[in-house]
């Protein structure tokens, strides 16, 4: 295989920073895109108003560094597109260029929904250890929920040999 013994063969290396820092122009453009895709609505803040959005955006860009070049190229193309035209441009990208729109939108949405502020707002506690109570499964079955199935009896098709 010609791979150094220290290289993990079946585990990707976790990166927490993007391949390079964004320029100010790139970052400003990316934030405007994020705010267009994720605007404020009711109690929900727009993307760039979310506490700690920027560090999570860095983490998101790192997690999808496979798409970094294509995403940043699109961000650069859209830097001078203003206001309502940006929404139109993003809709056109959504319709015509999934290979760019999908990772771009996943990165900004992924960053937004990682922030503790938004997780709390949408009621998402994150994946975490939460073992079942000792009686939980028994309590469910003691309601009699399975009784109709048991009362109908076996449904399998007999075949010689079972």
């Amino acid at each position: 295989m010609s791979t150094p013994a220290s290289l993990r063969l079946s585990v990707p290396i976790r990166q927490t920073t993007p391949p390079r820092s964004l320029t100010e122009v790139e970052q400003e453009s990316l934030l405007r895109i994020a705010d267009t895709l994720i605007p404020a609505a009711g109690p929900n803040p727009k993307a760039s108003d979310t506490k700690d959005f920027l560090p999570y955006l860095q983490l998101a860009l790192a997690a999808r560094r496979d798409a970094f070049d294509v995403v940043i190229a699109a961000v650069s193309r859209l830097k001078d597109v203003a206001g309502a035209d940006l929404l139109t441009a993003l809709k056109a990208m959504w319709a015509d260029d999934k290979n760019t729109f999908d990772p771009l939108s996943a990165i900004v949405a992924g960053a937004y929904f990682m922030t503790p502020e938004v997780k709390e707002l949408i009621g998402y506690p994150g994946q975490h250890r939460d073992p079942a109570g000792l009686e939980d499964a028994v309590n469910e079955l003691e309601t009699g929920i399975l009784d109709p199935v048991i009362e109908r009896g076996p449904i399998y098709v007999s075949a010689a040999g079972e």
């Binding site: 295989m1 010609s2 791979t3 150094p4 013994a5 290289l7 993990r8 063969l9 079946s10 585990v11 990707p12 976790r14 994720i38 605007p39 609505a41 999570y56 983490l59 998101a60 997690a63 999808r64 496979d66 959504w94 999908d102 939108s105 996943a106 992924g110 929904f113 990682m114 938004v118 949408i122 009621g123 998402y124 506690p125 994150g126 994946q127 975490h128 250890r129 939460d130 073992p131 079942a132 109570g133 939980d136 499964a137 028994v138 469910e140 079955l141 929920i145 399975l146 109709p148 199935v149 048991i150 109908r152 076996p154 449904i155 399998y156 098709v157 075949a159 010689a160 040999g161 079972e162």
Partner: protein, 542 residues
């Protein structure tokens, strides 16, 4: 490539592949006192490595930890040529194999699955029956600590499990209530996930991310159960060892295996018996790679069936969102409940055989967004995104495996355009979905929509075919009594080479629609026990 300086000592049993079947065979042979080496092209993965340990886990599973090796592209992976295929077979290459990423749903095949020709007049019967396999199932279930409720009415009497079931949770109860309303069979999910601490497995922490690697170490992935016990019994697991070809001698027997180690060196490991456990794509690939002057069409291929009859269990889903708070970030996932209501043939439906349905939770807001990708822009982006993300905790996923009947034109060959990182030809998949399967997929989606409607879903998203799921790789070296129409006998011994065995999903005759790892491991135990007898007998005679 450099060659080795010295040939290693001959080993009794050489297993290729450290997934579920490889772990079971390795343990069975080692525990019986035989010397065993298991070759694995990947290496070990720790529970602390998995994506759900990190806040960006939903992004990591899109690429770096994707289930498709063609997307993930890790050093342990080989490319899969899918240019001429309706589906993209997926697998994980590591100790534990694809069980690293499976959902650990643990249903056995039904009696009719072994008699499809007799019952429905299609495909072929297996050379073994439900009852032949039952004691091996019972032994594996006990070993790995399967959790479930005994007495499932979809099965004959005598089915029980060693560990108590997991709670169905709010999504499971809601799905079960709908099934009751419709008069369907359903049963609390049977899962190879420890509901209590069991041997080398931790108690389930309901992380909800079983199919992306269990951070708790509670899921029975076979790097955590069976393989540790095999090592304790004396087996050696060689990681970073990619099998190149099986070598045969003048006597027609397998003399060992050439593999490529981490240094790029070709090593010949001699063995008294060789067991292929490289999955339904990797195993036929290696048999075809082992062609030589005496076996121009590949090893063990006098029937011409190596690589043919590939079955992939096409999957379909109906994802429902509800007004109720279902706390659907909670696991296991794993099946909360399953239904065998539509498993058997009902000719009035216009197709033969059926599907197995299972209900799962829907963890993660970004996953909910990805599930809405096919909606109109304004239904997902802009102000709508907030409600879509909120819906993740109120979701139920009904999913189904459909029975995939064997067809010789669906097959694995060697690619002429793609190679792995060692220069070995990649497997090429030629696979088309049959009309029978398309009807079955549509019928099944309609039933799952009914289930959501009965439960009061507010929004239902359907997908009639997942082209990159579910990683059930079956049938490419089928078992049978007749060497003209099968590759191995009912104990996994190849008809052509007396000390070469196959113990993975390749040896399935038909696919059923039950998740196959349960059956793969029972078959592997049966193959392993017979292999031990045969190797001991051969050693006694020599």
């Amino acid at each position: 490539m450099a060659q080795q300086d010295k040939t290693p000592d001959v080993v009794d049993v050489l297993v290729i592949g450290a997934g579920p079947s490889g772990a079971v065979v390795t343990h069975t042979a080692a525990a019986a006192g035989l010397s065993v080496i298991c070759l694995e092209q990947g290496d070990w993965v720790n529970p602390s490595d998995f994506p759900a340990n990190f806040p960006e886990w939903e992004l990591l599973i899109q690429h770096n930890w994707a289930h498709d090796p063609n997307v993930r592209g890790l050093p342990s992976d080989y490319p899969v040529d899918v240019e001429d295929s309706d589906m993209w077979p997926v697998m994980f290459n590591a100790v534990g194999g694809s069980s690293i990423y499976y959902g650990a749903e643990w249903p056995r095949l039904l009696p009719s699955d072994f008699r499809v020709k007799t019952v429905d007049g299609v495909a072929d019967d297996w050379p073994i029956s439900y009852n032949d396999l039952k004691p091996y199932h019972d032994e594996v279930d006990e070993f790995i600590g399967v959790a479930g409720v005994g007495g499932d009415t979809a099965y004959p009497d005598g089915l029980d499990y060693p560990l108590p079931p997991h709670p169905m949770g709010k999504p499971g109860v809601k799905a079960a209530e709908a099934a009751n309303k419709l008069g369907w069979h359903w049963w609390p999910g049977t899962n190879a996930i420890a509901s209590q601490k069991h041997k080398t497995l931790e108690q389930c922490g309901r992380w909800g991310v079983c199919e992306w690697g269990c951070p708790q170490g509670a899921k029975a992935s076979f790097d955590l159960i069976y393989m540790p016990q095999a090592q304790k019994a004396g087996a050696t697991v060689l990681t970073g060892a990619r099998a190149k070809r099986i070598v045969t001698g003048a006597d027609g027997l397998a003399s060992g295996v050439e593999y490529i180690n981490r240094d790029g060196q070709v090593v010949f490991q001699p063995a008294r018996a060789v067991v292929l456990c490289a999955n339904g794509v990797g195993t036929p690939r290696l048999l075809l790679l082992s062609a030589d002057d005496n076996h121009p069409d590949g090893l063990a291929n006098s029937s011409g069936l190596v690589g043919r009859n590939l079955m992939l269990h096409p999957n379909c889903t109906a994802l429902g969102y509800y007004d109720d708070d279902l706390e659907s970030w909670r696991g296991p996932a794993g099946q909360l409940i399953h239904s065998m209501q539509f498993y058997e043939t009902d000719k009035s439906r216009g197709f033969v055989r059926g599907s197995k349905l299972h209900a799962l939770p829907t963890p993660g807001p970004l996953n909910a967004i990805e599930a809405h990708r096919e909606c109109d822009f304004d239904e997902l982006w802009g102000p709508a995104i907030h409600d879509v993300a909120r819906s993740a905790r109120n979701g139920i996923l009904w999913a189904a495996n459909t029975e995939d009947l064997p067809e010789e034109d669906n097959r694995v060959t060697l690619s002429t355009t793609l190679q792995d990182s060692d220069g070995l030809p990649a497997p090429k998949i030629e696979y088309r979905i049959s009309d029978n399967t398309r009807k079955l997929l549509k019928f099944t989606v309609d039933r799952m929509v009914e289930a959501h409607q009965a439960a009061g879903a507010k929004r239902i998203l359907t997908k009639e075919l997942w082209i990159d799921q579910p990683g059930h790789l079956l049938g490419t070296a089928r078992m049978g009594d007749d060497p003209a129409t099968s590759v191995v006998d009912s104990y996994g011994k190849t008809h052509d080479v007396d000390n070469l065995y196959i113990a993975d999903g390749s040896i399935f005759v038909t696919s059923g629609s039950a998740n196959p790892t349960c059956t793969i491991t029972a078959l592997a135990l049966r193959v392993g026990k017979k292999l031990v007898e045969n190797v001991k007998s051969r050693k006694a005679q020599s």
